[in-house]
Amino acid sequence: MGLIDKLISTARRSSPWLLHFDCGSCNGCDIETLACLTPVYDVERFGVVNVGNPKHADILLVTGTVNLRNREVLAVLYEQMPEPKVVVAIGACGLSGGIFREAPNVVGGVDKVIPVDVYVPGCPARPEAIIDGVVLALEKFRGKALAVL
């Protein structure tokens, strides 16, 4: 079974499908995340596809602060992703609430709602940093249980 395990493990690290959720971001990190897909950065080189559907995603990229309304959405999206999955919080807001942490309708960072595996700092985070975060997230798959074939 060693071979199959290895194959699955390699496949997981070679085929990260992303779900990007804008969780109250100022769009700064969002457009940088989107920019990662475009010719200059082209993350599809690493097999990354932006799927836009939690049910198909392996990695959840969250930008922005959590507020009282979108925290439910964030929790639902996380729940709807099939295992194994990792979460990457992007930008100062995703990490801690950033500059908005004292604003009236802000709960704080992403890790207040769901477990975060990788934190990508920056305001906004640069595309290179985001790619780096995704690569770090891929390594997290090593630690996750090999499910279910």
Partner: protein, 281 residues
């Protein structure tokens, strides 16, 4: 026993080919978009990863549908390999589409249900054209068996140029490329999320992806009938068609299904009918 081994070999080859074609598609598309794109082997990694993910269904039927779709696709392909009856191949292939739609409509998600409907309109277009093509095959070769095309002695394309144009439309639809990727293209930034595939998760999605490879291979195999005089024609014509569809995808916006049903399909049907009458007359 020998037959089983042979069948497995055919399926294995088709899987390999389908996966590589899918990889070629992604890489070529990336190149046309000034990107480098993923490695050719990317689709295999995708599928292996999907097969090893968690199972989640919103309706038990969704666990059944992918299996049925995959076996229909495999069956149709094997029938083709055994030089079967094109009508039967199309019927079996159609059954795969039926189960795909049933699985999509079984989920309570409005996205996949609407997509199921759209997929039906799509099937209406594709299947009609293919059945007309089967009729044309009969008229030219006197048989519905795909072996007839090779026995004809000259490329079918000479006699069915208009039908080939119509076939390209069906191929575009089947490869889920714009202008007709009404539901469920790979890069799914569209109103229906990922169309009929929205609710399929992990292994089930993986099976559907494999079924899709096989279907594309089947379509290209059918395409090869248009130039079945020798191995070169049988390789080059489908390859050209495949590349043409990818290029078309990259130089056009997606049109709506109403357009497809009205203009696209209308024109294709008329073209193929004209071709048929011309053949007969």
């Amino acid at each position: 026993m020998q037959t089983t081994a042979l069948a497995l070999a055919v399926l294995g080859a088709a899987l390999l080919l389908g996966g590589l074609l899918s990889g070629l598609d992604r890489r070529l598309t990336a190149r046309l978009q000034s990107r480098q794109g993923p490695p050719f082997t990317q689709p295999f990694f995708d599928v292996i990863k999907l097969l090893a993910k968690e199972r989640m269904v919103t309706n038990p039927w969704q666990a059944f549908s992918p299996l049925a779709t995959l076996s229909a696709a495999a069956c149709a392909l094997l029938l083709f390999a055994w030089q079967g009856d094109l009508l039967v191949i199309l019927f079996v292939h159609m059954a795969g589409g039926v189960f795909l739609v049933l699985g999509a409509m079984a989920s309570p998600s409005p996205y996949s249900q609407i997509a199921g409907q759209r997929e039906l309109w799509q099937m209406l277009c594709c299947e009609t054209l293919l059945f007309v093509m089967a009729g044309a095959l009969y008229l030219t070769t006197g048989s519905f068996r795909v072996s007839g095309a090779a026995a004809l002695g000259e490329p079918l394309l000479y006699r069915l140029p208009l039908l080939f144009a119509a076939f390209l439309l069906a191929l575009t639809v089947k490869m889920r490329k714009s202008p007709f990727d009404l539901a469920g293209c790979h890069h799914a930034h569209q109103e229906l999320v990922r169309g009929v595939f929205t609710e399929y998760v992990g292994p089930h999605l993986g099976l559907l992806e494999i079924a899709h490879w096989l279907e594309v291979v089947l379509y290209l195999a059918i395409c090869s009938l248009f130039w079945a005089t020798g191995p070169w024609g049988m390789i080059l014509l489908p390859l050209t068609a495949f590349l043409a569809v990818i290029v078309l995808d990259n130089v056009s916006a997606r049109l709506t299904w109403r357009w497809m049903l009205g203009w696209g399909w209308g024109a294709a049907f008329v073209l193929s009918a004209v071709n048929l009458f011309w053949l007969k007359g």
